[in-house]
């Protein structure tokens, strides 16, 4: 996979470099995105960083964030890959509408998503009410609720990415496998999935990163309690109320984790999808 990519990259390069007219706004755009992050680094209380990081509440929030983002990504993979496959490969009436609905959480204010989740999966909700009566199962104020809120907001990232990969994949491999006698499930498992693996990986990483940063839906649906529902973004928000220095430290941790994962995994797994 690597060699042809590099070759095509060389071909893309323009003689004489890019025009200044494009480069100047590009640099300005880059500065706009990166400067706020640098601001965090500059204003960070480096001398007390160590002791602040080791506070139990910080570690608890970080642990919970990593756990819930990973579980949410798992849930999204389990449900999102089949959903993406259906959208890409099955012809059915209203497919455009379904595709639009799937991407709604991308543009919906997360707080609205949280309210919607409460109305459906809350203790008095349409589905939640029944779950509570039948099994004594409630989601608000639980870690499971955090996972659901994060999955709701992050799943579109996975679905879009996987659907795109499926559409770009060459159908002939699947057809060949089918002609050779493989069943549909075998074709999906042995041919389709490996073909779109980079797209799935890219989607999963985006999904994970989005889940890690989720705030609005989480605090609305799952509430805020240290060790149970207080993830890093919630801890940052509440720290800002009284102790901006602590908020900066927490933000730095979140930033470091996100950048590290995005950078480390992008080159490794996502390269082929570009």
């Amino acid at each position: 996979m690597r060699r042809p990519r590099r070759a095509s990259r060389e071909a893309d390069r323009l003689p004489g470099g890019p025009p200044w007219v494009l480069l100047a706004p590009a640099l300005l755009g880059l500065a706009f995105l990166v400067l706020p992050l640098l601001g965090l680094l500059v204003r960070a209380p480096w001398s007390t960083l160590g002791t602040r990081l080791l506070q139990a509440q910080v570690m608890e929030a970080l642990r919970l964030s990593l756990l819930t983002a990973t579980l949410a990504t798992g849930l999204c993979l389990l449900l999102g890959v089949p959903l993406a496959w259906t959208l890409a490969r099955v012809r059915f009436p209203g497919v455009r509408l379904v595709r639009a609905l799937v991407t709604v959480p991308l543009v919906l204010p997360p707080v609205v998503g949280g309210v919607a989740l409460l109305l459906v999966l809350g203790r008095r909700g349409l589905v939640g009410g029944w779950l509570d009566r039948a099994f004594g199962l409630t989601f608000p104020f639980t870690t499971a609720g955090v996972v659901l809120a994060e999955a709701f907001v992050a799943m579109p990232f996975l679905v879009i990415s996987v659907e795109g990969a499926l559409r770009a994949a060459d159908l002939r491999y699947e057809e060949a496998a089918a002609t050779l006698g493989a069943g549909r499930w075998t074709v999906f498992r042995r041919v389709t999935l490996p073909l779109v693996a980079p797209g799935v990986a890219a989607g999963a990483i985006l999904c994970w990163a989005r889940a890690l940063g989720e705030f609005g839906a989480t605090i609305t649906f799952a509430g805020n309690f240290p060790g149970r529902t207080q993830t890093m973004p919630l801890a940052v928000y509440l720290a800002l109320e009284t102790d901006p220095q602590a908020a900066i430290v927490l933000s730095l941790v979140l930033l470091a984790v996100s950048v590290a994962v995005l950078a480390a995994l992008r080159d490794r797994w996502v390269g082929g999808a570009r």
Binding site: W20, P25, L118, T220, L240, E241, T242
Partner: protein, 258 residues
């Protein structure tokens, strides 16, 4: 290279221009009179009362617009110390006001203009069968409180300590309106909110008073922000709030006299 610099400079000018528009556009969008916009930062619990007082102020000052930013007092205080262009700041507690005064961002000493007390809010029908403050400690009861970082959370700690009730909340919400939402939707069986919030919520929640709330009454201070863009208007608005008219609007909303 020269051209880069020129483009960059141009872009920066454009950006700076945008900033100006955002900052002053609201104060001069072709209105009659002097077209000034008075910016008031106020605690979320003051939303209903101050919106009404803002209308009164606007009709008494033709051409002047009052713009409110309602939110958690602590957030607003942080924003002011970070240079937000506010004229007036009304906080839900002296502690949050102190953030602003200590940073030298108040033009004088703040004035306490009203008080608010906590009540127990329960969903319509009181499914958790909460009748008194002691019930809040019952195991299995889902209680939500404000985070201790915000005034309603600090007051809740004080009141519950005074009542000698140990409460293990299921969540510590970011502001009092969030507590009200969770109780209103029936997700929580009870929460501690201000008396004014229950009043503003209409019939969605019921309020249960308790004597220990008197130990945790919140004073609301108001102050003119230092370097206020519209200092004279700021002082007049404060005069309206602390005056007869302000007092009657606030008491109708469920606040108590200073």
């Amino acid at each position: 290279m020269k051209r880069t610099a020129a483009v960059a400079a141009l872009s920066l000018t454009v950006l700076a221009g945008c900033g100006d528009v955002a900052g002053e556009g609201s104060s001069g969008t072709g209105r009659a009179g002097d077209g000034a916009t008075l910016t008031v930062f106020a605690a979320a619990s003051l939303t209903e009362a101050f919106t009404s007082l803002g209308k009164t102020f606007e009709s008494a000052h033709p051409g002047v617009r009052v713009r409110f930013q309602f939110g958690g007092s602590s957030t607003l205080a942080q924003q002011i110390t970070q240079g937000a262009p506010a004229d007036v700041f009304a906080a839900a507690s002296p502690a949050t006001m102190k953030t602003v005064t200590a940073a030298g961002d108040a033009s004088g000493p703040p004035r306490v203009f009203t008080r608010n007390r906590l009540v127990i809010a329960v969903p319509k029908g009181d499914p958790g069968k909460v009748a008194k403050v002691g019930d809040l400690g019952r195991p299995g009861l889902k209680v939500v409180l404000c985070a201790v970082q915000v005034p309603c959370g600090a007051a809740a700690e004080t009141a519950l300590a005074a009542a000698g009730v140990k409460v293990e909340p299921v969540s510590r919400e970011k502001d009092v309106k969030a507590v009200l939402t969770k109780v209103g939707l029936g997700e929580a069986d009870a929460g501690l909110v201000y008396r004014t919030d229950v009043k503003a919520a209409g019939g969605r929640v019921a309020g249960i008073g308790f004597p220990e709330a008197a130990k945790a009454i919140n004073d609301y201070p108001i102050v003119e922000v230092a370097r206020a863009p519209h200092s004279a208007l700021a002082r007049e608005f404060i005069r309206l709030v602390v005056g007869e008219q302000g007092r009657s609007v606030l008491s109708r909303a469920g606040f108590e006299g200073p």
